[in-house]
Symmetry: C2
Subunit: 247 residues, 2 copies
Amino acid sequence: MAGSTSSEHGRLIRKMETIAVLTEPEKAALAGLPMRLKDFAEDTDLVREGDTPQECCLILEGFICRYKLLGQGQRQIFSFHLPGDIADLQCLQLSVMDHSVGALVPGRCAYIPHTALRELTDRFPAIAAAFWRDILIDAAIFREWLAGVGRRTAHQRIAHLICEVCTRLKSLKLIDDHVFDLPVTQAELGDALGLSTVHVNRVLQDLRRAGLITSKGRRLVIEDWPKLQEAGDFDPAYLHLRAPEGR
Amino acid sequence: MAGSTSSEHGRLIRKMETIAVLTEPEKAALAGLPMRLKDFAEDTDLVREGDTPQECCLILEGFICRYKLLGQGQRQIFSFHLPGDIADLQCLQLSVMDHSVGALVPGRCAYIPHTALRELTDRFPAIAAAFWRDILIDAAIFREWLAGVGRRTAHQRIAHLICEVCTRLKSLKLIDDHVFDLPVTQAELGDALGLSTVHVNRVLQDLRRAGLITSKGRRLVIEDWPKLQEAGDFDPAYLHLRAPEGR
DNA sequence: AATCGCGCCTAACATGGGTTAGTGTGGCTC
DNA sequence: GAGCCACACTAACCCATGTTAGGCGCGATT
């Protein structure tokens, strides 16, 4: 076991390396984290508002969102998460979840006990700093979405989101071109962007007609990155990636 | 000097106590932080997008906001900050600011060197945890605003914001009833809530007509807290206050 | 191969909130 | 005390987006 790193732990390490430089002992410590693996189906809640979890949930495969249900049965999605993300890192400090974490497609995750994570952050300040950094980037993404929903048009918001997902996938080395799966229904896009399903549909068609994107099923192709970036007023600075992506 | 605590440091300690329990040595350490005081005028930027500050900015007096200017000259305000808040705590981990911090009214702040804060968090893990917690609460507020701008009506958003500010002021013991200053123009409210100035005005009048609030100048009185809370779909859970406020 | 359900798509209509273009007023400056 | 400026407020009009109500196609189930 020692010396080798499972693919599960590799996911986590690769993600951490997008936000911080890790030494070998730090990587080894991450690789030694205990994990309880779990497969999950579509539309499952991994963590629920009001819960006080004792484990954190590392995404290994799938596409995850954080969301909250509002008074009138509406839903707001706050963020999407990709493999390597720990979606509920915050509950290390805030015991009660103020929102839920849900799966949009079937996938796999690993539950890591808080105790193990606390021990890790106590022993390796650099890892604590990286987690802290991760949470701050999380917050930066919320701010960017807030700016979008508050002040950008529907066209800008959708273009922006597509740029963001593509940039993050590239930084995780899960893709290396402008082709990827966006396994999200138009209704879910609407819940993320504060739009109705109907309007999401209208706008997507506009973007296709304008030649900025194409899509077959959930597979999405960005045909004209510069124009899409411009249409979305997208500047990746807020993602605070170590190596500037884009192109 | 030893044994006494300046009112500047007191502000910070009182704020920290709303999010964590502090021991005497921890309080003493906070009270010993070096501070460079500065008065500022209305509409000043305390920190600007793109900056890489070497100090954090503790608010002592005034009303501060964090904001970003978008491509088309529009502005989105992300949060308001009250005395005791460190508005740019995040730059301890993310060196480049991805947004600005601006004063809405004249006030006073204290700049604290990053080095002193790092030393403090190294020596006192509980303080590091409290900072971490503060940042997470910050993010929780962003999420709540995102939910508002994305899915709530203008009336709900405005009522919600008024409830939030009042609740936070109470938790800081800056007020103890439902009367407070909201030193913010209607245009600024609009920038925070994703609304036009005209519409903010319309809605405020509606709330007054409905007997939920009154206001003379910037002084605002919540006349009917339960109804306002309901109108705003306000649940203070997301503020993660140690002692549940509200009423 | 019929049925079901879900997600994409469309059309017609409704409306919340934006835009533009002001008026009114109180506090400040000179 | 005249002038100015910032801000609250108003009115008329407009449009981006929401709502309602479906149709269509495809994969899964039987």
